[in-house]
Amino acid sequence: MSSSTSQETHAPPDARPSGRPSLQVFLVFGVLAVLVASQQWLVPRLDDPALATWSTIFVAIVVQSVPFLVGGVLLAGAIATLLSERALRRLVPDNAALGVPVAGLAGVALPGCECASVPVASSLMRRGVAPSVALTFLLAAPAVNPVVLVSTAVAFPGRPEIVLARFLASLVTAVAVGWLWLRFAGRVPILHRRGTHDHDAGTARAFLSSVRHDFIHAAGFLVLGAMIAAAVNTFVPREVIDSLAGNALLAVLTLATFAFVVALCSEADAFVAASLTAFSDTAKLVFMVVGPAMDVKLASMESGQFGGAFALRFVPLVLAVAVLSACGMGWWLL
């Protein structure tokens, strides 16, 4: 896009006198105005069935996720500015090893989409909560809440063992990743975006500033993930995926990959899992356990929020633990 302003470095952009918007915003505004004005001319030229399908799914994922992301940044803002030190200390145990399972169970009570939990986890870390505890919460909240469990029960009627297996496998994944992180990854650098609030500013001001900052921060990565997920949805035919269902190991790896790249909401993925009739129950369980814990949209948001070094370790760790946990639970219960 526009590269006409001179901020190519990481220096704080825009050192010009405050109150005067930079040239950039006028350029962007101009480009947008031209595009919208030429809509009548452009629309027929963009008329292609594959592009239309991609754009429908892309817009659908973004539109579905944005309200949940906004809910997440509001909660994150509340944690960052409204929750007192004392209240926070009462809620989260001092001992991180004990805090991990508590955070896992806390996920049961907080129905939320996975995009909402990234800013919340980041905000918890900024307030001094141990990373392993915040990450456990990040993994558990979208996966084990009642909304997800009820939708799973609806998608698999008369199969309560699938609901139980999903609940246990997701909880085990969240807690195991938390403990592993605590034990082995204590020194992995996690980028802490500076808290945006000025300490002398009022609470309301700090809250709005935090919400604004967190939203813009996460939304770009959400869009990137949605673009990739929509492309997979549109251009990879289901038959290709079904053709890999025969071999047990291949089936598990296929659905783990599929869950990662299609990036569905945890409230809806059970219905898609149920439609993958060619696959074994264990492979379907892997799909439902991996999806809420890690997908392309989350990986993109997490690398934006916590830094690339973090994502390079966290993403594979979660994927491996989720697949193993789901396979173990599938072998035991299904």
Partner: protein, 231 residues
């Protein structure tokens, strides 16, 4: 390399995204992407984003430039708004139906299922998903000798078959599953055309929910798409 997003551009980004969400949810456009209950969350969320942008404009003279550095990925937030205006993505149609997989019927043990008799009108209106479920049990006994009327859009399969089709969505269009009934007896209209048909179920087709039910079409009417095209 792209330029960093300046504070003023971020404000524009918030305002446009908020406005597009409100625009989408105040008409019927949002129904092409998400469930109908998303309307008020979308409006609230759009209003909040516009409010954040207004607060920015109002506080212009505070000089908050020091915390305005955000990742360059923030530019991407323009993309959904532009795609919405320039491509105006339609509801999913025949192109995706030919790639998507048929939603299986979640079969419960037959003795636990009670399918009420269809009402006594002729032809009797049914929903596509209802028809598929009825066809799946007892070889479609509750459909026998009835003239059924239902609607959907036209899509095609591998051979020269055509289908009366609808998508069901749970959260958003990304998780759409296709429901379809194979039609014979008339020449198929163009892809994506919405039709209402009067038809008879072919006994035994679609039994067990493993394949699409078949119908023989007696009357075919071209109609406008419904307000909400998904089930």
């Amino acid at each position: 390399m792209v330029a960093a997003v300046t504070r003023a551009t971020q404000t524009l980004l918030l305002a446009i995204t908020g406005a597009v969400l409100i625009r989408m949810a105040s008409g019927d456009a949002y129904l092409r992407y998400v469930n109908s209950w998303m309307r008020w969350p979308l409006i609230a969320c759009g209003a909040l984003l516009v409010l954040l942008a207004l607060v920015d404009v109002w506080r212009q003279d505070d000089g908050e430039e020091h915390d305005s550095h955000v990742p360059r990925a923030a530019w991407l937030l323009f993309v959904p708004s532009l795609v919405f205006f320039l491509i105006a993505p339609p509801a999913l149609g025949a192109h995706f139906a030919e790639r998507a997989q048929t939603a299986p019927v979640a079969l419960e043990p037959a003795d636990e299922v009670f399918l009420p008799e269809l009402p006594d009108t002729d032809p009797v209106p049914v929903l596509l998903d209802d028809l598929i479920i009825r066809a799946a049990y007892d070889g479609g006994a509750t459909l026998a000798d009835r003239r059924l009327t239902f609607s959907g859009f036209v899509s095609r399969g591998g051979s020269d078959r055509w289908f009366v089709t609808r998508f069901g969505i749970n959260c958003c269009a990304a998780d759409a599953t296709v429901m379809r009934v194979a039609a014979t007896g008339v020449e198929p209209p163009a892809d994506d055309q919405w039709v209402r048909v009067v038809a008879r179920h072919v006994p035994g087709s679609g039994d067990g929910g493993t394949s699409e039910p078949e119908v023989v079409v007696e009357e075919l009417e071209l109609i406008e798409p419904p307000r909400n095209q998904y089930r």
